[in-house]
């Protein structure tokens, strides 16, 4: 018995909602669906908050360390004497924190969607999928073992696929959902290989025994694999590839910008706050293994994260699609989190990066969800995605403007807002040991401030476009989540996060690092100032700059042609030299063999079908004759022996 046995209800309540809605989606009126889905996710939210209250406040650290508790579990699959796969709920610092993030954002998005999807024919379908996603994501974060995570990992992938392709009549949405599914699925193959490799050598799937440093000596991890990597390094890099696919790390980031074809609430929930940080969460889950068993794998995580962060930030400065700017911003911020994990060590003060990464995950979920919901409100009002056709909206959409400004300030690292605190921790962590990552992240901080304020000024200031309908603030259902998230974007930075989430379970006392904070604040002010200068009013300066930097601008605008590289590789190399020969072999050799067998059967039966005359007595005659002949032979044989 323990106090967390009810935790399995947290994911299962949305599952119930999904089943109820999907089997009645033609029957349920919109109001019933909305009320049902929202109240069910509301229950999950309350339970999550209650769990956090119980875990962090009532129970607190045991002998100075937060324990890892199995809420409840059962054996799902037995794979031999020692190895079995369980299903259950694991309650520890990271999972409780993620429960809060997922259920909060999910609840906000549910409320927001009531307003946003109001006139949509697929209203019920949309809510059913939202519930399915909430179920999968909540199950993912409280998974007790790698295999359970993998199962729900795929389920969130499916939900994401369904929701990106929500407007299935639009070819671009269908293509985007397919792209997202294939890219993440491709990465998941490596994830599975990594799971198999590490569990083969450690004889366990369970996170508790897998990530306990005291067990590491007992694991049989000797020997090297190809490229001279040790077994844990290879396994953990493979797992990281899976996480990189889900979290859109370079070069597997190509699906996320396209995923913006989905409705805006979906972008806020799945492609900004929860699912895309699953990769970060996965690395954080197995952080002890990364940090102690394979520091080289962890360094790779850090460098990939930092590079992706810079890469996506550069692209974001040039995009003109509202949601794509935010998508690249998301990629960049997830790169930040990955980089923070990469520069971290295990335990005590060295684990600052881990804590910073989780902290940034938490704050980022709040303000990025707010940015996307705000984007949805704007797009809802002006019926276009292109920021060139917006401008001057601050006069028409007052509440949206204020909330969006708060989120923009938060992501830009403006002092006093949540993003400032988490970014400060990340940059401090990088400063200690990785100068290259440190400077990259500093540059990215400036770029982030620049492109976010470019977006903000272009949409809410600049010259006013002529609008067919006068844009206005959305209804209450959409405004309330915006306001709540805006409040959360401010206050979540003041949570003493290190006290709750840390790499080794011991509370970590953190404080603001003023030297670093001043530098990063200055950098972001520079970014804001440049954006102010260039975009607050429309000026010729931008076009001059674009002309000056023509080639570079074009490359960044076209996302450095990564998509084209992929197309080239798949079409001109894989399809031409692998798939076509295989198809030829299949069509001519495999099918040919089958056709010859069929041809033989057909011709033989053509020749002998005349024997089936329909005359009963002919058959009887043949039968009797055959019996006589066989009897004759038998008699002959018996006489002669």
């Amino acid at each position: 018995m323990n106090a967390f046995e009810y935790t399995f209800l947290i994911p299962f309540i949305p599952l119930l909602g999904f089943l109820l809605i999907i089997f009645n989606f033609k029957r349920f009126p919109k109001k019933l669906t909305a009320a049902l889905a929202t109240s069910l996710i509301g229950i999950s939210f309350v339970l999550s908050v209650y769990t956090a209250w119980q875990y962090f406040i009532i129970m607190g650290p045991l002998h100075g360390v937060y324990p890892k508790i199995i809420g409840n579990h059962f054996e799902w699959l037995k794979l031999g004497e020692h190895l079995s796969v369980h299903m259950g709920t694991l309650i520890d610092q990271a999972s409780v924190m993620m429960l809060i993030v997922v259920s909060t954002v999910s609840l906000m998005v549910h409320i927001y969607s009531i307003g946003y999807m109001h006139d949509d024919r697929g209203f019920n379908r949309f809510f059913a999928f939202l519930q399915l996603f909430s179920f999968s994501m909540l199950s993912l974060v409280i998974a007790t073992n790698v295999f359970q995570i993998y199962i729900f990992w795929e389920l969130v992938g499916v939900s994401s696929f369904l929701l990106i392709g929500f407007y299935y009549e639009k070819p671009s949405a269908v293509a985007a959902s397919k792209k997202a599914f294939i890219v993440t699925r491709f990465a998941d193959l490596f994830f599975l290989l990594g799971i198999l490799l590490i569990s083969f050598h450690t004889d366990t799937f369970d996170f508790i025994s897998l990530t306990n440093p005291e067990n590491f000596e007992r694991f049989n991890l000797h020997g090297t694999t190809f490229l001279g990597l040790s077994i844990p390094a290879l396994a953990l890099i493979l797992i990281f590839v899976g996480g990189a696919g889900k979290s859109a790390m370079f070069p597997l980031h190509i699906w996320l910008p396209d995923a913006m074809e989905g409705p805006s609430p979906v972008s806020a929930l799945i492609h900004a706050a929860t699912m895309v940080v699953a990769g970060v969460y996965l690395v954080a889950r197995m952080f002890a293994n990364y940090a102690i068993m394979a520091p080289e794998a962890l360094a790779l995580v850090g460098y990939v994260g930092a590079f992706t962060s810079l890469f996506a930030a550069v692209i974001a400065t040039t995009q003109i699609d509202f949601k794509r700017v935010l998508a690249f911003s998301t990629i960049s911020q997830i790169g930040y989190m990955m980089a923070a994990l990469g520069v971290s060590g295990y335990g005590e003060e060295a684990g600052l990066g881990y804590m910073a990464s989780m902290f940034h995950l938490f704050t980022h979920a709040m303000f990025k969800a707010l940015l996307f919901l705000g984007a949805g409100a704007v797009i809802h009002a002006v019926h276009t995605n292109s920021i060139r056709e917006m401008g001057g909206l601050r006069k028409y959409m007052k509440t949206t403007h204020i909330t969006f400004l708060i989120a923009t300030l938060a992501i830009a690292g403006f002092p006093g807002l949540s993003g400032f605190f988490s970014k400060d921790e990340i940059i401090t962590a990088a400063h200690q040991s990785y100068p290259l990552v440190f400077y990259t992240l500093l540059v990215v901080a400036g770029l982030t401030a620049f492109y976010m304020f470019r977006l903000y000024f272009l949409v809410f200031w600049n010259t006013e476009t002529h609008y067919h309908h006068k844009p206005h603030d959305p209804g209450k259902a959409m405004l309330i989540p915006l306001i709540i998230l805006a409040v959360l974007s401010i206050v979540s930075g003041y949570i003493p996060f290190g006290e709750f989430v840390s790499s080794d379970g011991k509370p970590l006392h953190t404080h603001l690092h003023f030297d670093i904070a001043i530098i990063s604040t200055l950098v972001s002010f520079v970014g804001i100032a440049i954006a102010w200068f260039l975009y607050k009013k429309s000026s010729d300066l931008t076009s001059h700059l674009i002309a000056r930097w023509g080639t570079f601008y074009r490359w960044a605008y076209n996302k450095f042609y990564i998509d084209e590289v992929y197309l080239f590789i798949t079409h001109n190399i894989i399809f031409a030299y692998i798939s076509r020969p295989i198809a030829w072999f299949d069509r001519h050799v495999v099918d040919g063999t089958m056709n010859v067998i069929g041809w033989i059967t057909v011709t033989t039966s053509e020749k002998i079908k005349g024997m089936q005359s329909g005359q009963l007595q002919q058959y009887a005659f043949a039968f009797v004759s055959a019996i006589l002949v066989i009897s004759a032979f038998l008699i002959y044989y018996l006489i002669n022996n």
Binding site: K609, G610, G614, Q615
Partner: protein, 105 residues
């Protein structure tokens, strides 16, 4: 008198009966007659059962009982066969076997 009859005599009779049945089944065109031929064959076998029982194992009764079973089953078979023949007659307005040759390639 009848005690002089040997097993061989009985077997000759039953063989003659059996092959008259086969002959009738192969040459008669009337379905009823064909059915009668089948009965003839069955009864030839019956005679064999009884004869072998009587002459070879007089202390046992299995052959006799087998014969009884065959009689009963033959009755059942005849009823089914006649039902089929009636069905055929309704369909083809004929019970000539040469008219019933629909089931072919």
């Amino acid at each position: 008198m009848w005690q002089d009859i040997s097993l061989q005599d009985v077997l000759i009779v039953s063989t003659l009966m059996f092959f008259s049945g086969v002959y009738g089944f192969l040459t008669r065109r009337n379905l009823i007659t064909m059915l009668m031929s089948v009965e003839l064959m069955l009864n030839a076998v019956n005679i064999n059962f009884v004869a072998f029982n009587y002459f070879l194992h007089p202390e046992n009764m299995q052959g006799m009982f087998f014969a009884l079973f065959v009689v009963v089953i033959a009755a059942a078979e005849a009823s089914v066969a006649i039902a089929i023949i009636i069905g055929i007659y309704r369909r083809f307005k004929s019970i000539n076997i040469e008219d019933v040759s629909k089931m072919k390639f």
